[in-house]
């Protein structure tokens, strides 16, 4: 409950029937609202009631831990003597659920019921008990759908935030893992959890996260994307300034690096901040594979990111303006391909890129069963036939296909999407001004990137403004062996910048050849 609403709160009435009536009215007589009035041996003279919303509670728990004890148990003598404090007695002696809380306002009662808690009321008491009996149907923890790894844990988040937090807790078994749950959304009252590792996280960043979350005023939060758009630093940018993942190990790694994670109930996607440009090129698998392979793959990613933005633009620029740059034989073979093509390079490229984007989107949205049809149409009809019909050149098809494939190398989808949008802008600039246009656009992009901040952390760090400490480079463009990565990656004033005291490999025990 917010402080502004404090005036509107209504106290629970001492009359049980009045309370039940009020709850029924506020729920609009919903048929999944279950209210049960009963008398029990525990307090034979007073009527009791439990109320909950069906489907989001665990019926077994209600039966075993709330109803059964209430109905069958007798209160000890000394408890009976205490008269009016029946609820107190119930709480301490009868209800055998873990978390029980006493509340005194109707709004609280309604909120807890909507959250899946069971309400226990007694006649004559102007308050009620809530018992945690959350339950209902949920998806089981399964393999993550969007971020797959070959080596590494094979489970992802689910929609239930409690399960998700527990997955993190199982990785980081430490009281330093702090979890703060906020309610965001006037109607949905979604649980938004902030997770961080106490002692590692930068307090300033943590405060900033809380401040931005507190400022959110929205009726509903259905996915972490809602939160992301509210708390990101810059709205008018193509570049994501928050990481997202559906992998618990990625979140755990981020927490260990001093980031703050934000989880939203109802979605398997968690957010992590602050971040910088280079984090988007790291896959969790980088850290599970051997460092040399990881380094190689990481360099491949950087190259393909640049290619997926620049390749069509470069092709346009070279074929339209700078033919002299190409070696003669290559130039001749390109010119021969383009001989019968009716369109200028820019139109040809735009045509093919748009086709690919349409195919891609179609592949995402269509029902699974139509998949093969789309791939036949896409590959054969649009690729091969277009070349044979002389509408696009074979070189262009190669360029577009390679661009498309290199885009899929990116481990983070949002960064991949960024490069796709920028690609079109670059193609236009290349069509207008050739190389000059491309350079100008790249200059602009870099200026833009350096001006970005993610929760106050420069987006291009440690490249610009340069590393504050030696050794930050060991996990940016390359990944050195784990024992060499001494520092946490972010160029922040972390409280605790070092992961481990020294960068030495533990010496291996050398077995001599002699037996």
């Amino acid at each position: 409950m917010n402080k502004q609403d404090a005036k509107a709160l209504t106290k629970l009435s001492p009359s049980l029937h009045a309370n039940v009536q009020a709850i029924r009215t506020r729920f609009g007589g919903s048929s999944d609202l279950i209210v049960r009035l009963f008398r029990s041996d525990a307090a034979p003279d007073r009527e009791l009631a439990i109320a909950y919303v069906d489907g989001i509670v665990n019926a077994d728990t209600i039966n075993e831990s709330v109803m059964e004890p209430l109905m069958s148990l007798r209160l000890p003598e000394y408890m009976q003597r205490r008269g009016g404090k029946l609820l107190d007695a119930l709480r301490s002696c009868v209800v055998s659920v873990g978390a029980v809380k006493e509340i005194s306002t109707l709004e609280e009662a309604l909120q807890y019921m909507a959250d899946g808690l069971c309400l226990i009321m007694a006649d004559g008491a102007a308050s009620a008990l809530t018992a945690e009996v959350c339950g209902g149907n949920q998806r089981a923890v399964t393999i993550p759908q969007t971020q797959t790894v070959i080596r590494g844990p094979q489970y992802g988040f689910v929609e239930d935030i409690r399960t998700n937090i527990s997955l993190i807790r199982r990785i980081i078994r430490s009281p330093n893992l702090h979890v703060q749950i906020h309610k965001i959304g006037k109607q949905t009252n979604s649980n938004v959890a902030v997770l961080y590792l106490h002692g590692i996280v930068d307090e300033g960043i943590l405060k900033e996260v809380y401040r931005r979350l507190a400022d959110i005023d929205i009726d509903g939060v259905l996915e972490s994307g809602y939160i992301e758009e509210f708390i990101q630093d810059e709205t008018f940018t193509l570049f994501p300034t928050l990481l997202n993942t559906e992998r618990p190990d990625t979140v755990a790694a981020a927490l260990l690096e001093g980031r703050v994670a934000v989880m939203v109930d109802g979605t398997p996607i968690a957010l992590m901040a602050p971040t910088n440009f280079f984090t988007f090129f790291q896959s969790p698998e980088d850290f599970y594979q051997r460092y040399d392979i990881a380094t190689f793959v990481r360099i491949i990613r950087y190259v393909s990111f640049v290619l997926s933005m620049l390749l069509p633009a470069l092709y346009i620029a070279v074929t339209t303006y700078h033919q002299e740059m190409l070696p003669t034989t290559l130039l001749i073979s390109l010119a021969a391909q383009r001989e019968g093509i009716p369109f200028p390079g820019l139109i040809e490229a735009l045509l093919m890129e748009m086709t690919f984007e349409v195919l891609r989107e179609a592949g995402l949205r269509m029902p699974r069963a139509i998949g093969p049809a789309i791939s036949i149409v896409g590959a054969l009809v649009l690729g091969q036939s277009a070349v044979q019909a002389g509408i696009v050149s074979a070189g262009m098809v190669i360029v577009v296909s390679f661009t498309a494939i290199s885009n899929f190398v990116m481990p983070e989808l949002n960064m991949a999407a960024t490069s796709r949008i920028i690609r079109f802008a670059l193609m236009l600039m290349a069509g207008m001004l050739g190389f000059f246009g491309i350079f100008i656009s790249v200059l602009f992009l870099i200026v833009h990137l350096t001006s970005l901040r993610s929760f106050g952390v420069p987006y291009m760090s440690p490249l610009a403004p340069g590393p504050k400490m030696q050794g930050v480079w060991r996990d940016v463009f390359v990944r050195l062996p784990w024992w060499a990565i001494v520092l946490r990656p972010m160029d922040l004033n972390l409280r605790n910048p070092k992961r481990r005291p020294s960068g030495r490999k533990p010496p291996a025990q050398r077995h001599s050849d002699k037996p």
């Binding site: 003669t328 610009a464 403004p465």
Partner: protein
């Protein structure tokens, strides 16, 4: 977290700002300027120009250290009084506005002459100025980050081209090292020193440095790296083409790039790739002089925000850039403006320093902690 503290710029960043500001559009005609003045003594005269430029930069640095909380616009008022100082500041602003427009024009001419032959020069100039104008709408800290980022991009390719061109180099072209005639040396030295004028940006950067007392270190390194690169380029161009041939080339450095090719025959010619680097170099120079202009204006009017001037100045700079009628006239103007500029970038700080020493004026000494600077 959102408000960045105003004193964030490190020594390395300052050096990067200096290097990438100094290396700019002047790289292309530099060997021509040097050879015209002193034939085969071109590398030597470049070195001399570098020394002269360093004297100017050193004056600015010493002044900046004496008044570590203020830009030259503000501390000049402390030294020589309100109105004379404002006159000086207006001269600085006007000079750098002109320098910005000339840089943009020179850049436009190169692009139109060598790469985009059918594009009107207005287009390339306005695109470049727009890019600079948009980029100046950042804080001075981000400004430093931008230079920091581009710094390696400016150093590595030039070294690469120089190294690759060594294949065609003839040492005999560099002799006699002392040159044959000494008449043009003074003029040539000043012309080349004028290419270093962008380093005046230091007078705006010092108040935002984390440790202004280390500014001298930054300026020494900045001059050594940028000047060293200039000397290397001149030496490479002269050794490849020879002094007499360079006199017939408008942009010898560009020809140097054209004359080199990558070993594996991937790209036939390197000039477009070189132009890419050079666009970056020009951009950083343009950004600095543009930034200096609007930052100085905002300080002159005691405004906390310089952003509003970035587009306000754009039409003015663009019109000035279009004033020269052709390349020859443009280079005449550039040489003259450059030499006049030396009075502003070396003479004026020298005067200020002298008077401040005589009048024993100093800024407040609690360096590093003051937060009252606008930025």
């Amino acid at each position: 977290m959102k408000e960045e503290s105003t004193r964030q710029i490190t020594v390395i960043q300052t050096a990067a700002i200096l290097v990438s500001t100094i290396i700019g559009v002047g790289v292309l005609p530099l060997p021509l300027f040097a050879v015209r003045a002193a034939d085969s003594a071109a590398p030597l005269i470049t070195l001399l120009g570098m020394v002269v430029a360093f004297i100017g930069l050193a004056l600015v640095t010493i002044l900046g250290k004496r008044f570590s909380d203020k830009t030259i616009i503000l501390y000049s008022e402390d030294i020589i009084g309100k109105w004379p100082a404002r006159l000086g500041s207006v001269a600085i602003i006007a000079f750098f506005a002109i320098l910005t427009s000339l840089t943009a024009r020179e850049f436009g001419e190169v692009v139109v002459t060598s790469v985009l032959k059918q594009t009107p020069v207005e287009v390339t100039v306005i695109v470049m100025l727009l890019l600079a104008a948009i980029s100046t709408r950042n804080t001075i800290t981000t400004f430093a980050y931008i230079h920091n980022f581009y710094f390696p991009l400016l150093i590595v390719p030039v070294i690469l081209i120089v190294a690759l061109s060594l294949k065609n180099a003839e040492v005999i072209n560099l002799q006699p090292i002392w040159g044959s005639e000494l008449q043009g040396i003074l003029k040539g030295t000043l012309t080349i020193a004028a290419l270093f004028q962008g380093s005046f940006i230091l007078s705006m950067v010092i108040p935002s440095m984390r440790n202004p007392q280390k500014a001298m270190k930054a300026s020494v390194w900045g001059i050594i790296i940028a000047g060293g690169q200039y000397v290397v380029i001149v030496a490479a161009a002269v050794s490849v083409f020879g002094a007499e041939e360079i006199k017939n080339l408008l942009w010898p450095t560009l020809e140097l790039a054209k004359a080199t090719s990558l070993p594996a025959n991937i790209l036939e010619r390197l000039d477009a790739a070189f132009l890419a680097v050079w666009v970056t170099a020009v951009f950083t120079t343009l950004l600095s002089s543009y930034f200096l202009t609007i930052y100085a204006i905002s300080h002159l009017f005691r405004l906390s925000d310089h952003k509003m001037f970035s587009f306000f100045l754009l039409p003015l700079v663009f019109v000035m850039a279009m004033l020269p009628t052709n390349i020859v006239q443009m280079y005449d103007i550039i040489e003259n403006v450059g030499r006049i500029g030396l009075f502003i970038t070396i003479g004026y700080p020298g005067l200020l320093l002298m008077i401040s020493i005589i009048r024993k004026k100093r800024g407040n000494r609690n360096e590093g902690k003051s937060m009252d600077e606008t930025g």
